[in-house]
Amino acid sequence: MATDEARATPRARRLRARAWCVGLFVLLLATVVGAATVGPVRIEPATVAAVALNALPWVDFQTPDVARTILRVVRFPRVVLAAVVGVALAGAGTVMQGLFRNPMADPSIIGVSSGAALGAVGVIVAPFAVPFGMGLHLAAFAGALAAGFGVYLIATENGHTPVATLLLAGVAVQTLLGAAVSFLLVRADDHSLREATYWLMGDLAGATWGEISAALPAVVVCVLVLVYFARDLNVLLLGEADAGALGVPVERTKRVLLAVSAVLTGAAVAVAGVVGFVGLVVPHAMRLLVGPDHRVLLPASALAGGSFLVAADTLARTLAEGLPVGIVTAFVGVPFFLYLLVNREVRSL
């Protein structure tokens, strides 16, 4: 009997894990629909669902024209983009915390966000300084990848990339790029300064379907790749020497995870600006709920991150016209994080 019970435990855990993922997916859909109902014009959830389902072929519900236009042009782009960005940041944050075995790690730890910031602020403040006349999104994305890759090169010696070196190189590069951004801001005129500040705080206003169609495929592919490596990431948590002895090609896995996380973060930051705390707080909270196994934690975190950012952005646009979502995530996320720190097991991580 005892053996049966012992065998049942992992099985029960698997079922629970599946339940979490399904539940969080449903929550994400519900949050998206719920968020789309909120705004200056209140739209019934049924109408929102009907308009959304009409996007599918062979489905044709009757919907009011006004509601359809508001949803398609204004609310859906913003809500869906929030979901995509939240998924990306929370997914990348989970991987970074695992890879660095450090609860303070977040998606921007290898300088990706700072690189994106420099690219974006460069386009806003001094377009002539940005090569090839790149657009803001492209410049931000290019800056993100360049910074991440630069940090990786700095920290790599003889094909080995110690995470401690990576962490320090990341902090140093972030500081340097931050200084460059500050320099650009000091030289900026009032209008550019305002625009750049919004971008730096993370803002989803003015989201377009174009941004979604660029970011969504990249984010989905990246998250799937990360889930593919979830078990290797689990083993990596035992330390690199142990992981190597247990059959994980350590350097290669690290390289893949870093590159994919950088693309993920870069894509999110390029379309939404620097939205903080999602990638730090959501993985923490989910780890407490579903445990450390990345096969569950990673999808759970990503889905929860999507819901979180949709909710935060809805709160932002409800509270005040033009309130950047980054401010809300910080106001909601930081007290929650501190609560975890004081009351829960975060300290023992």
């Binding site: 012992a6 075995r101 078990r231 689990n234 190597g244 002895a245 247990l246 059959g247 450390p292 991580l349």
Partner: protein, 399 residues
Amino acid sequence: MEIRNVSVRRGSETVFSNVSLSAERGELLGIVGPNGAGKTTLLRAINGTLDYEGRITVGGDEIAGMSARERSRRVATVPQETALSFDFTVREVVAMGRHPHTARFERHDADPVAAALERTDTARFADRPASAVSGGERKRVLVARALAQDAPLTLFDEPTGGLDVNHAVRALELAAELAAEGRAVVAAIHDLSLAARYCDRLVVLADGGVCASGTPPEVLTPETVRRAFDANAAVSRDPVTDSPLVTALPEASGERAGRVHVFGGGGAAVRFLYPLVSAGFDVSVGPVPEGDRDAEAADALGCETLTVPPFASPGPDDTTGTVDAADAVLLAPVEPAVADTLAGVVPRGKPTVALGEAWPMTADLPRNAAPESVIRAVATAVNGTDADGGNRGVPRPQD
């Protein structure tokens, strides 16, 4: 497993070079050596997590040419410690041993994990977070993980480190069992006596290379221990298991000079021998029966030892040269019967320090005298003055 001319460099520093050794299936090979000699480094070269020069083959194939997955199916490792970040349960950590045997998205086989938990006595706390168990328990979890890995070659890095006597012995029993089941087991062990007791062969790694290798009795000699560890050591036999027993001693620092001959027997001299040697005296002992505790201690300390067959009475022939060469004689506090046997060979006229009342001469010090005071008395005797109570070996008048 075979290692040929393997060198490992860390940065510009060479940890060791040209190390060659081999381990067969069914064999427990111990790697001993001082801290920093590269025992762990060698194990990490074997399990492929460190770059090396030379050839390391397991089952005939070069380690460096294998994929991480293939390597970890052939070589299982029990590390010294593990970085257990985040709260995986013990069972999850052990299940990670199945990683190389499990395809992606496939469920790992639960039976080897359950068997490994059972065998290492970790099943009781299998569902507790691995970060919440004690250090000794965690060590066993790592052993369980390596068992779950089920590889023909198993490496143990300090399997006894941080374990209490019971678990240390059980860890090595398990290593020996694995070998007996037909695996090759290589263990880096810092406790020489435990290594000697369990390993079929030992390799001493020191000064950047292999310093000695062979069976434990061949390898564990005072000379090898001195060469490898730069430490003074006495090698004797464990009275219970009869395996070599290494007792490390501080470097002899005494500046005393002179030859001292000790008459003892039945273990009476044991507690004075090391202090005498350590003080710098050139010590000889005997005659004592073969296998006597005094003889063993003297052997272990490398003293010249005169032995007679058990139950034989020593005659003057047994002692002449050695005792004559001595500058002073110490009469250990033996039982009266032993003193009677030795009465014929104790020299007259040499500076003598007698301990206890069994000897025919006046006791200079009581039988329970502290070694320090005995050293002082012997030193005075060697220097030829009688001021400190040393006598000339003249029997006291009979009452």
